[in-house]
Subunit: 197 residues, 2 copies
């Protein structure tokens, strides 16, 4: 129906998460109104990111430098490592300013169904970091799912011989969350883990 | 928080219609998992579109060729021209396979509030096409808004001396539309324009 370059661009854009065909079309039309101001800068930004961004050799974060800007920040506490499933979770914790230490990206979760075993995750590098860098506390910031709990359990076992403290994020009622819309599992867990005021 | 290339890319992407910051971030993360397979092709497609796509000198459609593939298609009826506000509407009519003739993109609508007058729209080129190409019917596919109606009215006046038939799209109940969720204006218009079965 359309000629090649427009259709091709729409179809590539519509494969991005969050963009359907309809919004990809709108985005392309908007960019075509100002190719020099909107399309070429985006093309350059994509190429620059593709050329420069790679996983941090220390923690697995994605950054233009390796070690990444978090690992090379002298103000971060290297004795405190937060273990996350992926880079998205790392970025979310950074946005929340939740953590003053460094990170370690596992690259996934143990999953019997998904066929992900310990060797598929960045666990040996984590153990090497703990031994080499004198890490004192490992905070497991893993999702509160079956796979997340399995992975946390496995990591706790593997980290026991190192002697460092292993903690996990608190589970309970989300801040600003109304009780009556929460799922039963969260409510029951929050009730059980109630704390004195 | 993040380093330059990632943040820059997210901020450019999040300016596209339909993509907020959150989905731009997800899209960038997904692309960074496979830069060579996802980012570079998109960068190339953007550059190719920016370099090749321009407005058709005849109708104003955006295409890699000028005259565009519709204007140069010998199977389309050149005596039948459909006038649209913009390229988005042209594409929508093409997707619906609604029209077997050619198009003319006005580039906007008359708007007293917006300060858009007849000279800001592609009206003289339309008149030249009608005189030069022996056009027999002009179909006004303009939005059913105040500005759309004003523009249709003005065009009908301007086209009268040419002697060609001027029609507009039917207005009424959308196909598949439930009556009780329709706005009053549409319902009243559809009622008034009822047709015998």
């Amino acid at each position: 129906m359309h000629n090649d370059p427009i259709e091709h661009l729409i179809s590539l854009l519509s494969r991005l998460p969050g963009l359907g065909r309809r919004s990809a079309r709108r985005a392309v039309l908007k960019m075509l109104m100002d190719p020099a101001g909107k399309m070429l800068p985006l093309a350059d930004a994509l190429r620059a990111a593709a050329d420069s961004v790679r996983p941090c050799e220390v923690c697995g974060n994605l950054d233009a430098e390796s070690p990444c800007h978090i690992c090379s920040d002298r103000h971060r506490d290297r004795k405190l490592v937060c273990v996350v499933e992926g880079v998205a979770d790392l970025w979310a914790l950074e946005r929340a300013h939740a953590h003053r230490g460094t990170y370690h990206v596992l690259g996934g979760l143990l999953s019997a169904l998904g066929g992900t075993g310990p060797d598929d995750l960045s666990i040996s590098p984590l153990l090497r970091r703990i031994e080499g860098d004198g890490i004192e506390e490992v905070i497991l910031a893993l999702p509160a799912t079956v796979d997340g709990a399995t992975t946390a359990h496995y990591l706790t076992d593997r980290l026991k011989p190192t002697g460092c403290v292993v903690t996990r994020l608190a589970q309970g009622v989300p801040i600003g969350g109304a009780l009556d819309v929460l799922d039963d599992g969260t409510l029951a867990a929050a009730f059980k883990a109630r704390r004195p005021l």
